[in-house]
Every structure is written in C-alpha cells, then in structure tokens.
C-alpha cells in the first residue's frame, strides 16, 4: 500500500494504492480521445459555419451572432462548466456537450474576422459580377481562404479541450469515476508530491505530449494546405 518508484515491473512506478501508473495512463487515453474528438468536432463545425455566415452577410445577423458570442466569451468557461456539471448529473455525455458548447465561439470570432477582410477583396467582387450566388461565394471563394485559420483554430482547440478536461478532472468535475482520468490522477496524488514525485510528473507529461502532438499535426497540416508557404 505505498508509492513505489520506477522498476522493471512498473515502468513509471505505482501510485499510493500500488496501482501501475503506466496502465492507468494507457486506460485513460481511450476515454480522453473519445471526449476530445467528439467535443472539438462539434464545436469547430458549428463555429466555422456561424462565423462564415455572420462575417459574410454582416448587418443584423452579424450583430446578433457576435453579441451572443461576446456574451458567451466573457463568461469564464471553466466556472460555467463547473456550475453546469454540478447542476446536471456528472456523466460523459454532459461533459462532451458542455466542452463543445464552450469551444465553438473561438472559431466564430476568428473565422468572422478573416471573412470580413476576405469579402472585400476584388476576386470576390469579380465572382459576384460573374453571377455567383452568395452560397457559392461563401463555399467556393471564402471558405478556402479561412480553412487555414480553421485548422489552426481546431488544433489549438484540441489542445485547449484536452487541457480544459484535465483541469476539470483535476477539480473533480471532469470524467466521472471509475473511468481513469489523467487530470484526476494528478489531483489524487498531489498530497504525496514531496515523497512520490513520479505520481504527478508522468500523467502531466503525457497530457503535455499529447497536446503537443496535436499542435505538431496542425502545423504540418497548415504547411501542407497552404501553397504559398510551401513555395518559401
């Protein structure tokens, strides 16, 4: 019943209850991926669509959407989630929905800002002169221009959602037990920090490395889809 340092049988040591940390990390990966992919996918698709429409049409639609986004943005996400999770029952579905709700406004803001500057370009005006409909202009002429920013957003979003989920789990409002969770591992072992540093170090390292891999992937993807960069 005590912490054990790294050994041949337990590569990353064991926690206060003698459980293998490596096994817990591996088991936690599956649940983290599920939560994050579901949340980010929903958030980015919804956010990009809304941002594109708001930025392109402007006027009243833009005002309504942006005020809504602003109102949403100024609320501290972590705290809102804490309250919602406390109100509703703590479950995986709730967590995914709540993370998606929190993640979409970021995409809206950036896509809208990009659309605003793209829609006044001459090639868009020419497309309109050539008789292209609004839908066609948005999808064929503006969307390719904002894909770049969407990918960067989605990448940063993935990382942020993993981190947010970990923070929630750390505060005790994330992935519900008995599912293993990286954030909760750190929180449970925090009190033994000066006696058993490895119990906090390794789960955090894993979170950092996964988030970092996502960012690398995004960078690579960005270089691939942006022909102007490839020419450099």
């Amino acid at each position: 019943m005590e912490d054990e340092n790294a050994s041949i049988s337990y590569f990353l040591g064991t926690d206060a209850l003698g459980r293998d940390i490596l096994s817990k990390i591996i088991a936690g990966a599956r649940i983290t991926v599920l939560v994050v992919v579901a949340a980010v996918g929903t958030g980015v698709i919804v956010g990009t669509t809304i941002g594109l429409v708001a930025g392109y049409f402007g006027g009243l639609i833009d005002d309504i959407v942006m005020r809504f986004v602003d109102a949403w943005n100024i609320l501290p996400g972590l705290l809102i989630i804490l309250v919602i999770v406390l109100v509703l029952e703590q479950s995986l579905e709730t967590l995914i929905i709540v993370l998606a709700i929190v993640s979409w406004p970021g995409a809206v803001r950036l896509v809208r800002a990009e659309t605003l500057s793209l829609k006044n370009r001459e090639y868009v005006a020419l497309a309109r002169v050539a008789g292209a409909s609004n839908t066609r202009i948005m999808i064929r002429h503006i969307l390719p221009g904002v894909v770049n920013i969407v990918i960067v957003t989605a990448t940063l979003g993935t990382g942020n959602i993993i981190l947010l989920e970990a923070s929630l789990s750390y505060l005790g409002a994330g992935i519900p037990p008995p599912e293993p969770s990286w954030g909760r591992m750190i929180s449970e072992e925090r009190q033994y920090i000066d006696a058993a540093w490895w119990t906090s170090l390794f789960p955090g390292l894993v979170i950092a490395m996964v988030v970092m891999s996502g960012n690398f992937l995004g960078d690579w993807f960005r270089d691939r889809v942006d022909p102007t960069l490839r020419q450099l």
């Binding site: 005002d63 005020r67 602003d70 109102a71 943005n73 100024i74 609320l75 501290p76 996400g77 972590l78 705290l79 809102i80 804490l82 309250v83 919602i84 406390l86 109100v87 970021g106 803001r109 950036l110 800002a113 605003l116 500057s117 006044n120 960067v152 940063l156 990382g159 981190l163 947010l164 970990a166 923070s167 750390y170 505060l171 954030g183 750190i186 929180s187 925090r190 920090i193 000066d194 540093w197 906090s200 170090l201 789960p203 955090g204 979170i207 950092a208 490395m209 996964v210 988030v211 970092m212 960012n215 690398f216 960005r222 102007t228 960069l229 450099l232």
Partner: protein, 318 residues
C-alpha cells in the same frame, strides 16, 4: 468613428445585461439555496423559520422579481451578504481584487513581452535556432496543463531548491515593491502567463509569416527599403491585427487560469473566492464574483474593438 464607438458601447452594456441574466439563471439552477440552511425534515428547521429565511433572502418572490431586485442592488454597489458567513460580499471581493489584479497584470505584461517579440523574430528568422527555441517555449507553454506546471514549479523551486516561497501572496505589512513580497508573485505569474504568451507567439508568428509572403512586402524589398523597416513598419502593423483581436480571448483565459492558479498557490484572489462559492452553493458571492470578472472583461473587449477600429480603417463598419 464616433457612431462606431457609441454602437460598441451600447452593445457592451447589453452584453453585460445578458451575461448577468445568464449567470443569475445558472446560479439558481445550481440548486435551491435555502436547502443549505434547511434540508426538508432535517436539522430541526421549523417551517416558520424556513419561511422567515426565504423572506429575508427574497426567495419567496418570482424569479424575475428576484433578478430585478438583485440587479438594482448590484447597480448601486450592494452585492448583498454571503450565505456562508453573512458578511458583505462587496467587502469580501474588495479585499481580494488587488491580489488578482497584481497577478493578472503581471501575467499579461509577461505574456506580451514574451509572446509578441519572440513571434516576430521566429517568423523573420524562419528555420533558425531562435525560431526553434521560441517555438519550443511556445509548444511547452501551450501543451502543459496549468495545474501541472504549478505543481512542478512548486516541486522544483519551493520543495527541492527552496528558492521561492509558496502558499500566500506574502506578508501583509510589507509594500508590494519589495523583494519579500514580490518573490511570492514570481511562480504564479509565470504559471499563468506562459500559456497566453505561447498563444500570442504562435498567432504573431503565423500572421507575420503570411504578411511577409505578400507582394507588397516583396515590393518594398525590391524598392530597396531596409529589411528592418520592412519588417516593423510594413509587415508588423498588418500582422499584429490578428493577435490583437485574440487578446480579448487571451484575457478570458486568465479568468479560467486564475481560478486554478489561485487555488494551488493559495493566492487570496477573486478566483479562489469563486471556486469556494461554487462548492458552497453560495450564490450571492458566486454571481457577484462572476459579474466583477465579466465587467472587467467587457471593458477589455471594448478597448480591443476601439484599437481594431483605429488600426484597420479598411474594415468598414456602417
């Protein structure tokens, strides 16, 4: 420009109102605050006492009335009393605003001083050693969970090396501008500022690369303009727009981050007050603290809008 400003100001106020409604509604959904005092059939609270309490707290009136009464009192600066200790919320928040502001301002300055110049350098010297170093700092800053950074910092600098103290905001009787007090700020400020600095660095770099690739930069170079002038006068002014619009979102991350950082470092700020209020179901404190953060953030957003309007007259607002 004047109409644009007035419009933004009106919207800022409406936003603030909508946010208050949302926060108020959420805090009420979190559960009947009365249940804290009187569990049905438990603790010997008589029905008369329950009624008395709910009258005192105004809980017997319709929700809309409760909201309006609450809003009216908030606007006159009366945040009510906490449920837990029955002390004035305004006093409680007021005591904790200064530490949070210290932390936020220190982290924001740190984030900008680290993020923007490093982002420009790493875009201009793409592929060089300084590019890789900057990007590594950014990658770690964005990838490491903030609570983990805090714990590791404590483990390294407080437990192992014993260089920096940890636990509070330092002694009360010492001025802020002394080392005795200031050394308490170092770890929390870095932990909170690292992530936003990384975000700023990435954004500055990516938009700077885009601008440097554009034709007018090539033209400016072809004219024979010095490279330094091209970078800072031609490219930087356009490239900074994207990071600028995001600075509001970066500020939002301070609110989230401050909640965690203040908890771990036992920093006596508003964020800590907030999480305590969540766990205690203490809705006067919760709504007031969220409102304070919200008001600050709306103001920051408004400033960003003004800056955006001044810097980019191309984008037409009508």
């Amino acid at each position: 420009m004047r109409r644009y400003l007035i419009r933004k100001l009106i919207f800022a106020i409406i936003t603030l109102l909508a946010a208050t409604m949302f926060v108020f509604g959420l805090s009420r959904m979190a559960g009947d605050p009365l249940l804290l005092f009187a569990k049905p059939g438990g603790y010997g609270m008589s029905p008369e006492r329950v009624e008395q309490l709910s009258q005192k707290l105004g809980l017997d009136k319709p929700l809309v009335v409760q909201y309006l009464v609450w809003l009216g009192r908030v606007l006159t600066g009366d945040f009510g009393e906490t449920i837990v200790s029955e002390t004035s919320v305004r006093k409680l928040i007021w005591e904790r605003v200064a530490p949070t502001m210290q932390l936020a301002v220190a982290s924001f300055i740190l984030a900008i001083l680290m993020g923007v110049p490093l982002g420009v350098v790493s875009a201009v010297k793409r592929g060089s050693l300084s590019d890789y170093v900057s990007r590594t700092i950014a990658l770690i800053g964005q990838a490491a969970p903030i609570f983990w950074v805090c714990i590791m910092a404590i483990l390294l600098f407080a437990v192992t090396l014993d260089w920096l103290p940890v636990g509070t905001a330092g002694p009360d009787d010492v001025s802020f501008w002394t080392w005795a007090k200031f050394k308490y700020l170092i770890m929390p400020a870095f932990a909170l500022g690292w992530g936003p600095a990384a975000a700023l660095l990435r954004l500055t770099r990516s938009s700077m690369l885009e601008v440097l690739d554009s034709e007018y930069v090539t033209l400016a170079r072809a004219k024979g303009t010095a490279y330094r002038v091209v970078v800072w006068k031609h490219a930087f002014r356009n490239a900074i727009l994207q990071p600028l619009t995001t600075s509001a979102i970066i500020l939002a991350s301070f609110v989230t981050g401050a909640v965690v950082v203040e908890r771990i470092f036992a920093w006596p700020g508003v964020g800590q007050l907030m999480t305590d209020a969540v766990w205690n179901n203490d809705f006067p404190t919760l709504t007031s603290t969220v409102l304070v953060f919200t008001a600050i953030f709306v103001a920051m957003n408004f400033l960003a809008d003004i800056a955006y309007g001044i810097l980019n007259p191309v984008i037409r607002y009508d």
